[in-house]
């Protein structure tokens, strides 16, 4: 490389504007025996960096890590059992659900990998449990939110209408449990033309 080229690249380098290939070019030049002495400082710097690049974790340390990992268990999926308890009014409901789910979980689990997959049976069961919990939460919250509307009347095929997402591009306001607020919310919802709310 010609020294003018090097100077240009170095200028870019110090501006943080070089690409990785350009940096490799610079390195190749500066570490070569024929590098111009005016770049001695850079050559030195790149030399140190090149050595740092080659550094590896000492083998003894790597072995130690291997052994430690063999004695460490991965986190189970199911970490926070209390997570779903303190969820307002449905706490009681979830408590019961939890008891039911636990008895399922306690079935003898063989620890062999489920054929053809990365997971043991115990892990798969834990995942089922976690998923159940999460979906139960979602479902319960959904029901909690839509129940009050049902009290005031029948939402015609609400769930189907909910799938009709055109209507829901407008803002759906917060639905509070207080009954006085509910009628305001219903007015709001009624304004969404595709909804048909029949008040009995």
């Amino acid at each position: 490389m010609h020294t003018t080229e090097v100077k240009i690249l170095l200028e870019k380098y110090y501006e943080g504007a070089t690409t990785l290939p350009e940096e490799r070019q610079l390195e190749a030049y500066l570490l070569s025996p024929g590098a111009d002495p005016q770049f001695a400082a850079e050559a030195r710097l790149f030399g140190h960096l090149a050595k740092a690049k080659q550094e590896t974790l000492p083998t003894a340390a790597a072995k130690e890590i291997e052994q430690r990992l063999q004695h460490t268990a991965p986190n189970p999926f199911y970490r926070s059992r209390q997570l779903w308890y303190y969820v307002g009014g449905i706490a009681a409901a979830l408590l019961i659900f939890f008891t039911v789910a636990i008895s399922f979980y306690r079935q003898p689990a063989n620890t062999h990998f489920v054929a053809g997959t990365s997971y043991t049976r115990a892990e798969a069961e834990a995942a089922v449990l976690q998923t159940q919990q999460a979906l139960a939460f979602v479902s319960a919250k959904w029901t909690q939110g839509t129940e009050p509307l049902k009290k005031l009347g029948t939402l015609q095929n609400t769930q189907d209408k909910m799938q009709n997402l055109g209507a829901l591009d407008r803002n759906v306001k917060t639905i509070n449990h207080s009954m006085t607020k509910a009628s305001e919310s219903l007015d709001e919802l009624e304004r969404l033309s595709k909804f048909k709310i029949v008040i009995n």
Binding site: A41, L45, A52, Q54, E55, L57, A62, P74, S118
Partner: protein
């Protein structure tokens, strides 16, 4: 992920973590950071498929650990003592040479402000693309460039000072 997947995809980041830690800590402490980082990732191994970049996660965990350790032990950035220490007896000769000269790089980099330190390390030692660096430091590419520029200039000044080179401006 399975044990094998961990071995194939996560363990290879050990060296990277080690080299990073050496910009903050002594050899021994750096080895600790690597171990603790790998243990943490191992414990989380079932969640790892949820991460876009395991490399970024590993580096973030390690960096945080380094910062905590530095704070706890009140390391002094300007001290060469801990970082450029002589190699141990059990290291083969060629590795010794690498280690010593690598230590020179680390001691220079360790004197940079932390943000510049990690950025110049990820770029100039690890050769990461800007997007990969951004995944770790959570800055936009321009800010990374600015930090990189400052760091490189500082390193050059340090080298010049260290070796008293006659430098005829550019």
């Amino acid at each position: 992920m399975t044990e094998q997947a961990f071995i194939d995809e996560v363990l290879p980041h050990q060296d990277k973590i080690y080299r990073l830690a050496r910009n903050y800590l002594s050899d021994a402490d750096s080895q600790d950071v690597v171990q603790e980082t790998m243990v943490r990732l191992w414990q989380k191994r079932h969640e790892l498929p949820g991460y876009r970049s395991i490399q970024a996660l590993a580096i973030v965990i390690a960096r945080n650990m380094c910062l905590d350790k530095v704070k706890a032990k009140s390391y002094q950035n300007s001290s060469l003592n801990n970082i450029a220490e002589p190699a141990t007896m059990h290291t083969p000769a060629s590795a010794l040479e690498t280690k010593d000269e690598a230590a020179l790089a680390h001691s220079l980099i360790s004197r940079l402000p932390e943000q510049q330190r990690i950025i110049v390390h990820l770029r100039d030692v690890e050769g990461l693309e800007y997007e990969e660096i951004a995944a770790v430091v959570k800055m936009n590419v321009n800010t990374i460039r600015v930090n990189l520029s400052r760091a490189r200039k500082t390193l050059r000044e340090a080298i010049i000072k260290q070796h008293n080179y006659a430098y005829n401006g550019s």
